[in-house]
Subunit: 361 residues, 4 copies
């Protein structure tokens, strides 16, 4: 279980890194929207390994095919199924770890949960699982952009100890895509790339922070109590492999402020209620207030490294694990479209859920 996300804009991903393919179904996409593979492929290309030297060298074409839910170029309102075939399945690369629990990976916990697992490429814990998220996220982005002019942009804010000067405002997709590390601060981007190169050369890996902002979000999205907008965002982000922390707005930094400093004062801008500051990250009481939604995600350093590591095998023997071949020393740049997608999915879901709330009027 656990392969579906959302309630009214509901996605379900499937597929392992090795097997026939990976994919997603989207149930609840409104009818009548223009949609084709061309809306989806660009984000898949941003997630794809092999797009630059700072990512994994595996080259996967990841061409998507819409199998259902679209007729004559418009959505039918029924399930949209999207398929991406697997390629480049070098299962032999994993043969040596067949019986070994790789530290930092899900090998042991899958075995503990299921009593059976695929040793090929991590199964559902594979990074390829995110293809379904990104494909569905592209659809969610499109809906939100058309309905509200919502702009969702994510970027790499920090790699290891190297943090960008970038603030929350004014980040453009162009600035993000201008370099291979997806940091809109060009000078810092250069240093990040150097740091990643260093990690690769040392057989090591680094983590960092991805930030994401959604502008033009209508007020009123999010449910009270458990399905708060920020709660669902936190879940969405923490469900991305390697994510270990999530903040909304000022997050942990809000602690340094007192209530007087932190409360965002209300004022009127024409007939629209606005706040002077946005410490809250666009969400009050779990419901969007119309200000930009701001999210930060901490990603741990990638688990796959080229160093020998102490571990055990599935028979309970102590072993030393040594990875072979090249590794991906930093997933941050490829995580950016995934973070954007998850934010878009939560917003689209809550927008559609909101539809029912005002029916009493």
């Amino acid at each position: 279980m656990g392969s579906s996300f959302g309630q009214q804009f509901r996605i379900a991903t499937w597929g392992e890194s090795h097997g026939g393919g990976v994919g997603v179904t989207i149930d609840g996409c409104p009818a009548g929207m223009e949609l084709s593979e061309a809306d989806i492929q660009p984000d898949l290309d941003r997630r794809r390994p092999g797009q630059s030297r700072v990512t994994t060298p595996r080259d996967e074409a990841d061409r998507c095919e819409i199998l259902s839910g679209v007729f004559e170029g418009r959505t039918l309102g029924t399930s949209i199924a999207i398929l991406v075939r697997n390629q480049d399945q070098r299962s032999s690369a994993y043969e040596d770890f067949k019986h070994i629990y790789r530290p930092g990976h899900a090998d042991y916990t899958y075995q503990a949960k299921y009593g059976y697992r695929t040793w090929q490429g991590g199964g559902r814990a594979s990074a390829r699982e995110a293809i379904g998220r990104v494909a569905a996220g592209a659809v969610a982005k499109k809906i939100l952009a058309e309905k509200f002019g919502t702009r969702i942009v994510g970027w790499v804010q920090q790699v290891h100890t190297i943090a960008a000067e970038t603030g929350w405002e004014g980040v453009t997709p162009e600035a993000v895509e201008a370099n291979m590390v997806r940091c809109p601060d060009p000078a810092t981007a250069e240093r990040m790339i150097e740091r990643i190169d260093q990690a690769r050369n040392e057989g090591d890996s680094v983590g960092g922070i991805v930030r994401c902002v959604a502008e033009n979000v209508p007020p009123g999205l999010g449910d009270p109590v458990f399905d708060k907008l920020d709660a669902d965002i936190a879940k969405a982000m923490m469900s991305i492999p390697a994510c270990k922390g999530v903040e909304i707005g000022d997050g942990f930094s809000s602690i340094a402020l007192t209530g007087k400093e932190h409360n965002d004062a209300f004022y009127m801008e024409g007939d629209r209620v606005r706040t002077r500051t946005n410490h809250a990250g666009g969400i009050l009481g779990g419901i969007s207030d119309g200000e930009p939604v701001r999210v930060s995600c901490a990603f741990k350093p990638t688990a796959t490294i080229a160093h020998p590591q102490e571990s055990v095998d599935d028979q309970g023997n102590a072993v030393t694990l040594k990875a072979k071949g090249r590794h991906d020393p930093c997933v941050l740049p490829r995580a950016v479209p995934i973070v954007e997608s998850m934010l878009a999915l939560v917003l689209a879901d809550h927008w559609l859920r909101q539809a029912a709330y005002r029916m009493g009027e």
Copy 2:
């Protein structure tokens, strides 16, 4: 919607701060467990306002009544309904803000969502909503303790800029309850209390960090992909009012490490797979690995302060808001049982969900 949480151990809370009462139903609690109000009341008392001078002066008895699901002292396996009647409803205290959106509160966003709201005590955004969480959490804690000897303990790690020296290990409930701020580091606790007193005197408020650890968690809990154990924990915590950030294990601090430093090496302890370190916070690939589960939550400074604040009313007029009476300058101590409860709820839910996974064997 959004008032229910969990899938197999599923709770639904209801109730506003003003009205007949607040409560919770628990659907999915296994049959045959001993249960009475005495298992629940102690945690409600820890959440209750008025228990010490660092919390809100409102004195609420919060006596719980189990209305269903228990027969002759044992659970029936059917829905357990728990009711706490409201008292001390001084709605006049809110009369002045009837038409004003309080900064940092959910007044405006509720209005934006529903087009109608109660101006008495925040409605569902009231702190009293947590009564249902804590009551259900007490049941979840009891199950986990009986089944696995699971111990869940939370504490206040930081208030404003004052951080405890407390590490992740060895914190006891006794040390936590030894002082009114629920910080197991007595010297820091004193300074925290002073800081809270200062905030009260200044009409201001402070936030901080609550930490929580669960020991003796069986491996295998958590679903791959979206319903990861850490993802559900993140949602659970972020759904607590005023929570703005969540970390699992090292969280944002993991960024300072490289993969070589961060990966937790596996070793055998008898026939049990263990890890040498626990940077991951007991969760790998979204599934528990048997090590202690570690969570940190950032709480923003309380929104209610005694300072005049810029705001608007529901007619779009600029107004200055000035709170009356005493306020609660720091919710951290009372948030501790809520954080513990949410962690217990997620673990109990995933334990019961896990039941179905190994049926194929």
Copy 3:
């Protein structure tokens, strides 16, 4: 589990016949609707035992209390909790069956499921569970009436072999309530009452058919594939204790027709698409077509009878069961408001779910 119903207008019932009370929470009722106990009590009174001599002699006041979700007489959009306290708990009446599985009852199956059960009044299988359904159904009826002028009326069509002449059209609540058996055909009603009296005198029981129609249902309600409107209605009805069969429109009788005879021809009535006949019962492809929704439910004869019956006890001994005291020989009249409620709940839920479908326009 299994105590909740609906997705967007979601109810959860709780409570056993013996214990503190029974109740329901409604999550998803739109905000701003006028609502008070006076909207709910009349249907509870129609379900209540002791209202006439053809029902069980137990006299239960069943006064409802709205505990949350309503402020100044209007719904808040948040969970509405409704409580009915238990009274008249003569557990001694059940003492003799403490260890015996009553034929036709759920004693054995609850024991098989939970390994523990209450022997007092059937636990969740008690007829009192329906109080929550009827209370929530009254709210759903009110919404639908206000929004669409929807009229939902149910009646007893058949008792044992005595069938009313009543057709699908023109049945009024007044005609239904004009006699204690709730059959709008007065002559047949007399014969039904005689048949029920006879069953009581013989210590036996009888079943029958309840019909229900909803007029002024907007077209477009119901989801394709699994959550079809008729599928959800079938589930709703079959979840009522003692219901063993459900039909939509002509149901089993449609078999006697050929396609040429059964297809309902479309025509225009002004700008509204209508059908000449309504064999389909207002639902095509699982979606309402705007014609009256028609449902028939078969109820088996009541399981509690005064005759000695062969059975076993929970130790596996053969026993002879003999009921004491008076019994309820026919549940049909009291089932009428339950059937109406379940139909209203399904329609209200699908109406709110439908809200999201046209958002793409």
Copy 4:
């Protein structure tokens, strides 16, 4: 929405009759089970059109491909995705009805719901949607057979007014498959085939009754209150296109009995609780009692006929519809594997849900 079914053994179907294909994902299938396409294809072949002269002449190969969730021939416990490509898409056959609402079909209601629809082959209302159900049902059947020796067999009990003599016991798959109408009573089968041939020759269609029984069902499956086993079965069956009525056990016939006659007496068979009769159809209080589960489904006559019919187009004009080409005068034989599949899906789901119930012991 509405494209998924089940909670713990959860399936989601997707696909229209025209487009890339149809398929299903199964989330929650236990790990470690042997599974391949060969387990699924036989039931798909039984559903396939063109298998005999009494079904539609369209010949569809319907070869299935398992895309995920299986590794080295065994299930991983993660989502199983199954794909069947579309072929034989003669959209021109539908071109004439592009703007016409076909009586008895979902054309008008889809338009009312979505405001946009595919005119090719009925979209999600196409009979091809059942491919996903049957594929998933084959997996559910396999689990149940391996775990409990559960045998599920369905058959055609009645076609138009021609009813088989077949009782509930002793029906074998071999007897069912021995003739093209899937009626285990060979003499009646001949007459049914004649009746279907007659309907085809007259350009008309006929409906009937499919029965299905599950033997070796463990007691304890089904949840109290709303998710009763019979309630979920009723929903499952009523969600099959053209199904208009569902009965459990004696169903509507139970009305002819009194309580004394209908109650199934308990007795011990060794250490197993049995009932002397099975009027209840293996379910008491919504929970299986270990006796065979018995279900009857009424199917209306097929909507597609060759006669001219009165209708309207999507501009509100009166039109006369005349179907072209050959039609399928009776869906009953092909509905048999679908009915079996839905019963298997409900049972597998409740078996896995039941796993959590006894955890308290």
